[in-house]
Amino acid sequence: MSWIRDKELSLIERLCANVLKAGPIPKHVAFIMDGNRRYAKKCHVERQEGHSQGFEKLAETLRWCLNLGICEVTVYAFSIENFKRSAEEVEGLLELARQKFTRLLEEKDKLEKHGVRIRVLGDLTLLPLDIQKLIAQAVLETRAYSKCFLNVCFAYTSRHEITNAIREAAWGVQEGLLDPRDVTESLLDQCLYTAKSPEPDLLIRTSGEVRLSDFLLWQTSYSCLVFQSVLWPEYTFWNLCEAILRYQYNYSNIQKAKEIHHQQRARLQLESDRSWVQDNLCNKEYSTAEEDLILFQKLLQKCKAGREKRTQTFICALEKKRTDFLQALCES
C-alpha cells in the first residue's frame, strides 16, 4: 500500500486540528514507532503482519501530519541493533523495505503532488545492495521537492551517526579543507545524517517505553519528549493531538532553555576565536593600546571569516561526496 494515505480528516478531526493550530505547531516531529511485535502477539498474528500494520500506520500518520501543517517527519524504521534479531525476522523486515521502496518509486506522482522529499539516514553499506540501490533512487528522484520532508532512519543508531560525523570532519582536516579548530558543535551538526533538517521539536515514542534507544541523541537535546503507551499500529489521530498539546504546554520553557544553550554556544565560540587571536597577536608589538584593540578586532573578524569560508567549502565537498555515493549506486 501507499506511503501517504489519501484519506482526508473527518469534520471533528478538522475542527480539532484548527483549534490546535491556534497555538505553536511543531515543524519537525520524530517518531519511534514501537510496539509492532506486541501488537501482533495481542492480535494473534505473525510478527511480519505486525510490521506491515506498522507501515500502514506510518502512511496514515504522515497524512495527519500534512493536515496539521507538520512539514518534516523523521521515523526510526530499522536500528543497527535490530540486526541481532532472528535471521527470519530481519529478512522479513528487509523484504518489507524492498516492497515499500519499490512502491515509493511507483508513486512519483503523489510525491510530486505533495512535494515530499525522501531522505534515508543510516549506514546504507550495511544493507543488501539491491535495497541500497532502491534507496539511492528514491532519495535522488525526490531531491528537488521541498514542501515537506520524510526522513527514514534505516540501519541507524545515533552513536554511529555522531561517530560518522566526526569521521567526516577528520576527513575534511585530512583533505586540508578544515583546521582542527574549525571542528565545533555547529560544524558537527552539519556533518550528521540530519544536516539538512532542523532539530526535531517533538519526539514521540509509542508502546510505553520511556527511553531513546540510540535515536537522535544529539538532535533531541532540547526536543519535547512524549512517551505514549499506545502500541504503534493502534496509534490514532487523537494520540497525535495529545502529543502536540504536550508540545504546546512545554513550548515556552523549552524555548527558554534553547536560548540559554545558544548563548552558551555563542560565548564559547567567541572565547575560542579570541584565544586564536591572542596566539597570533603575541608575535606583534604595537605602541598604543588603541592600535592593539583595532588589530585585535581585525584579527577576530579575520578568524571568524576564515572559519566560515573553510566550513562552507567543506560542507559543499561533503554534500558532493554523499551525492556521488548515491549516484554511483544508481548507475551500478
Binding site: 497555538g23 541493533e81 535490530n82 561517530t163 566526526i166 577528520a170 558543535e185 531513546l212 520553557n253
Partner: protein, 287 residues
C-alpha cells in the same frame, strides 16, 4: 472562525493546567491511589502497556507495582531497612541521574534523595541542571549531603561512605572511596564530544591518526576519560519540562526516563515508586 479556534485553544490549555494543579494537590494529600490517571488526557485507545511510568503525576497502572508501593513499611525514616527495600525491588539502577528541570532549588531535598540512593544500594548518582547552578554550588550540595547522611542514616552512616566524584577535596578527607556522586552541567555533554572530536582531528592533522580509526568504541573510550561513571540506567527528571535539556547526549542512549513533578518536599515513597517503575522496565536491546 479562527477567533473561535483561538478561544477554544486557550480554554483547552486552561483546562489542562487546572487538571494538573488539581491532581498535584490531590497527590500531596496522599489521595493519589484513589484517583488514578487524572493528569493524562488520554483520548485514544489505552492499549496494552507495562505501566506507563513516564509521568508519575499519574499512578502506574500495574497491580504488582501498587503492591510494591505498600505504604505499611514506608513510614519511619530511621527505622527503615534501606538495603531490604533495595533488594525487594529486584532490579536497581547502577547509576541514577537526577535531572533538575525546576526553577527552584532545594539543596536539602536533593541531598535527601542522594542519601536515599546510597542507602538502598545505588552505586553512582549524578545531578544535572541546564544552567550549571548545582555545579557552581557543588560544595554547598556536598555539605548538605554529608549533613543529611548523618541525620537520615543516624549511627549507620559510617556504613555508607561517600566520595565527591568531581575530584575536589572539600570533604574528601572524611570519606572512603565507595559511592561516587557527581554534579554535571551542559559543558559535560556536547562540549566534551566536540573536544574529543577536535583532539582527534588534531592528531589526524599531525598524521598520527587516520579518519577511519574513529568508530563508536574509539569515541566511547575518549569520552570515558572525562566521564568515568557508567552510563545512567535511570534518569529521574524533576519539573514539568518534558526534555533532557542537553544532558549527556552520548551516554543516555538506553537510559529510562522517569518524571516526578517536584524535588521540593520529595517523599521517600515517591522515590521508591520511581525505582519500582524502573524495576518494571524491560530492555530488549534491539532484539
Amino acid at each position: 472562525m479562527s477567533v473561535l479556534c483561538a478561544v477554544a485553544w486557550r480554554l483547552l490549555h486552561l483546562l489542562l493546567w487546572a487538571q494538573r494543579v488539581v491532581f498535584t494537590w490531590f497527590r500531596s494529600l496522599s489521595w493519589s491511589f484513589v484517583f488514578p490517571k487524572l493528569a493524562d488526557l488520554r483520548l485514544g485507545k489505552a492499549g496494552h502497556f507495562q505501566g506507563d511510568c513516564g509521568y508519575l503525576t499519574k499512578q502506574c497502572d500495574c497491580a504488582d507495582l501498587r503492591h510494591r508501593c505498600n505504604l505499611k513499611y514506608l513510614t519511619q525514616q530511621r527505622s527503615r531497612n534501606w538495603r531490604a527495600d533495595g533488594c525487594r525491588l529486584g532490579k536497581l539502577p547502577v547509576h541514577m541521574a537526577v535531572l533538575m528541570g525546576e526553577e527552584v532549588q532545594s539543596y536539602t531535598d536533593l541531598a535527601n534523595l542522594v542519601v536515599w540512593c546510597m542507602a538502598v544500594g545505588i552505586s553512582y548518582v549524578s545531578v544535572y541542571d541546564n544552567q550549571g547552578i548545582f555545579k557552581e554550588n557543588s560544595s554547598r550540595l556536598m555539605d548538605e549531603v554529608l549533613k543529611q547522611q548523618k541525620e537520615l542514616l543516624g549511627h549507620d552512616y559510617s556504613k555508607y561512605p561517600l566520595e565527591h566524584g568531581n575530584g575536589t577535596t572539600d570533604r574528601a578527607d572524611r570519606a572512603l572511596i565507595h559511592m561516587p556522586f557527581k554534579v554535571l552541567a551542559p559543558e559535560d555533554g556536547k562540549m566534551q564530544i566536540v573536544k574529543a572530536a577536535q583532539n582527534f582531528c588534531q592528531l589526524v592533522a599531525q598524521e598520527r591518526r587516520k579518519p577511519i580509526e574513529m568508530d563508536v568504541n574509539a569515541l566511547d573510550h575518549l569520552l570515558r576519560t572525562t566521564q568515568t561513571f557508567p552510563d545512567p540506567d535511570l534518569i529521574l527528571k524533576f519539573g514539568s519540562v518534558d526534555s533532557t535539556l542537553g544532558f549527556l547526549p552520548w551516554h543516555i542512549r538506553l537510559s529510562e526516563i522517569i518524571s516526578l513533578p517536584s524535588h521540593v518536599n520529595i517523599r521517600y515513597e515517591d522515590f521508591y515508586s520511581a525505582l519500582s517503575c524502573y524495576a518494571g522496565c524491560e530492555q530488549r536491546l534491539g532484539k
